[in-house]
């Protein structure tokens, strides 16, 4: 009995963790490069959820029926448009603040978050929205009677597989392309990289675009899986993804994925065995705890203060 629950929660935790990891990438890359918390990143995810539903409805109206084709097209369209949102956000709210006071970018990011939430609320309404289920079916493992089984839906499998593919592509891009190298150089030392001819503004834009598209992948997949969303979903998931990024070591890409998985598993097991009502409290307490006791996270290097 409890074995089945445990395995089921581990499965759910892995799925949740992949989602957190995908969003955490955006936090961790932006923090690594310009040292700010992009508070509006969770709302980028929310934008992606709305875009997914809108593109799905539009493509269905155009007469496309085959689910795989729909999924692929919606995913690509959402990624493209969300990336555009990420890029514009950086241009409007963060780029003018490169040399401003310490608090300015963060306050601007909070403003951006309010703008995105209210923009969607005003244009799409405050009520919760949904999409039809595209991916049906599931597999059952360890079946041992009518109530004793572990169920994995195809949508969950799709989430994990896509997350793995997405992260691998991103990792390959960072490690092997010229732009990826420039990114790493800017992360090490922005001024030096600029002196050596790296276009840092472009690198920063690219990082926002990549972070937003990863959040878009997460938004699209979750929308396909759960189907329901509103204009405020970005807030909680944003804090949790940020927790994942900190847990893994902010600035570290593998750390973001690892942190996501750890957080997803911990949260899912907590809600399976302790209490569902307090799972958000648990996640936030984890964030506070990690920041206090191990601010450099699992894979991050301890920071040496620059005097």
């Amino acid at each position: 009995m409890s074995f089945h629950i445990l395995v089921q929660q581990v499965v759910n935790g892995l799925v949740l963790g992949s989602v957190y990891g995908l969003i955490a990438v955006g936090y961790t890359m932006v923090y690594g490069i310009i040292g700010m918390i992009n508070f509006a990143h969770g709302d980028v995810y929310m934008i992606a959820a709305y875009l997914t539903a809108i593109f799905l409805a539009a493509l269905t109206l155009l007469g496309i029926q085959s689910p795989p084709l729909l999924i692929l097209l919606v995913l690509l369209l959402t990624m493209a448009f969300t990336a555009l949102y990420g890029w514009s956000m950086e241009r409007i709210a963060y780029k003018p603040l490169r040399h401003s006071t310490r608090l300015a970018p963060l306050i601007s990011a909070i403003g951006m978050s309010l703008i995105l939430q209210n923009y969607v609320r005003l244009s799409q309404g405050a009520r919760s929205q949904g999409t039809p289920t595209l991916i049906q079916g599931s597999v059952r493992l360890f079946e041992n009677g009518p109530d004793q089984f572990v169920q994995i839906t195809y949508a969950q499998i799709l989430i994990v597989v896509t997350a793995v593919i997405g992260m691998s592509l991103l990792w390959y891009w960072i490690q092997s392309t010229a732009m990826g190298r420039a990114c790493r150089a800017v992360q090490q030392d922005r001024i030096m990289a600029a002196l050596l001819g790296v276009d840092t503004d472009r690198v920063i834009s690219v990082v926002f675009v990549l972070g937003a598209s990863m959040a878009a992948v997460a938004g699209t997949l979750v929308t396909f899986n759960y189907g329901s969303f509103d204009f405020f979903i970005g807030f909680v998931i944003g804090i949790k993804a940020f927790t994942a990024a900190v847990l893994g070591g902010i600035g570290s890409l593998p750390g973001a994925m690892l942190g996501g998985l750890v957080l997803g598993l911990a949260e899912s097991i907590f809600s399976g065995f302790v209490n569902t009502d307090y799972k958000d409290v648990f996640a936030f307490s984890l964030l506070v705890g990690v920041l206090i006791f191990r601010p450099s996270g699992l894979l991050g290097r301890p920071e040496v203060e620059k005097v």
Partner: protein, 290 residues
């Protein structure tokens, strides 16, 4: 003359990098000591250890004042708990206090005050306020006294203002008193930073490249100021400087660092002619060096 500061076998590791390796030197009371050496030799790291910003991997730094009372500048950074601490509640309490509140602030309270290579003023506050902030130890910090504006509080504030004016005058910054520190010209910011350090009542004044970015005139003024601080105000000065003219003119002792080690120390003219120092600065071709 007795030593104010003794540095013994100071070692500092950052990950795998050995930034300081067995650095040791003494600073006599009332002297001017210059730390010199090529870039990356570890001068600023020594400063950061002296002023409590870094905790060295090993070694000892001790500050002894004229009455013979001495402070361990490493203990106050709050090291890890030791077994002995459990036996003595006092030692335990002290370590706990240092762990919670320790670091550079306690080093400064012990009398080691510094300036920074890239000037760190309170830019959005006036020059005068910068100097008031520095007098933490001398003003009346009692919250209630301030709110009620008691006699003692007003007297302490008046005294603090007087001292701030004194140092503004000393560094010829009086006309800039009510301007924002961030708006002052570069050379004036450097002076204000030294004035601020003096307001904190230092026993050891650590200046990190005080002449960087100053023109020859300003540098000459600076050397006069440093000398008169030592003569007239009983301050011991320790400075990092690249301007050899300034170093040779004002220092009693020069300590040369290279690759995290002291390669020479002594009177300026002695150090200047030391072949090892010349080699470190100018480099010597391989075949001649071996």
């Amino acid at each position: 003359m007795a030593s104010l500061l003794t540095v013994h076998d100071l070692t500092m590791r950052f990950g795998g990098v050995l930034a300081l390796n067995g650095v040791g030197f003494d600073v006599r009371r009332g002297s001017v000591t210059a730390l010199i050496g090529p870039n990356g030799a570890g001068k600023t790291t020594v400063f950061n250890c002296l002023t409590g910003f870094y905790r060295p991997s090993s070694g000892a730094i001790r500050l002894t004042d004229a009455d013979g009372v001495s402070v361990d500048l490493i203990e106050i950074l709050g090291g890890p708990f030791r077994r002995q601490d459990l036996r003595s509640p006092r030692a335990f309490g002290r370590r706990l206090y240092c762990k919670m509140f320790g670091g550079a602030a306690l080093a400064a309270r012990a009398g080691v005050v510094r300036t920074f290579q890239n000037i760190r003023l309170f830019k959005e506050m006036t020059a005068f306020e910068n100097l008031l902030v520095a007098q933490r130890a001398r003003v009346n910090n009692n919250l209630l006294a301030g709110l009620l504006s008691t006699r003692a509080y007003r007297d302490a504030e008046a005294e603090a203002r007087e001292r701030a004016w004194y140092w503004l005058d000393f560094f010829r910054l009086a006309e800039d008193g009510n301007r924002l520190a961030g708006e002052l010209a570069y050379g004036r910011q450097r002076r204000l930073e030294i004035a601020r350090a003096m307001c904190a009542g230092p026993r050891l004044l650590c200046l990190d490249e005080p002449a960087a970015g100053l023109n020859p005139n300003e540098t000459r003024e600076l050397s006069e100021w440093i000398l008169s601080l030592r003569r007239g105000h009983g301050v011991t000065v320790c400075l990092i400087e690249h301007d050899m003219g300034l170093v040779m003119e004002i220092s009693d002792q020069v300590v040369v660092l290279d690759h995290g080690q002291v390669i020479a120390s002594g009177r300026p003219e002695k150090v200047r002619d030391n072949p090892v120092v010349l080699e470190a600065y100018l480099g010597v071709p391989e075949e001649e060096g071996r």
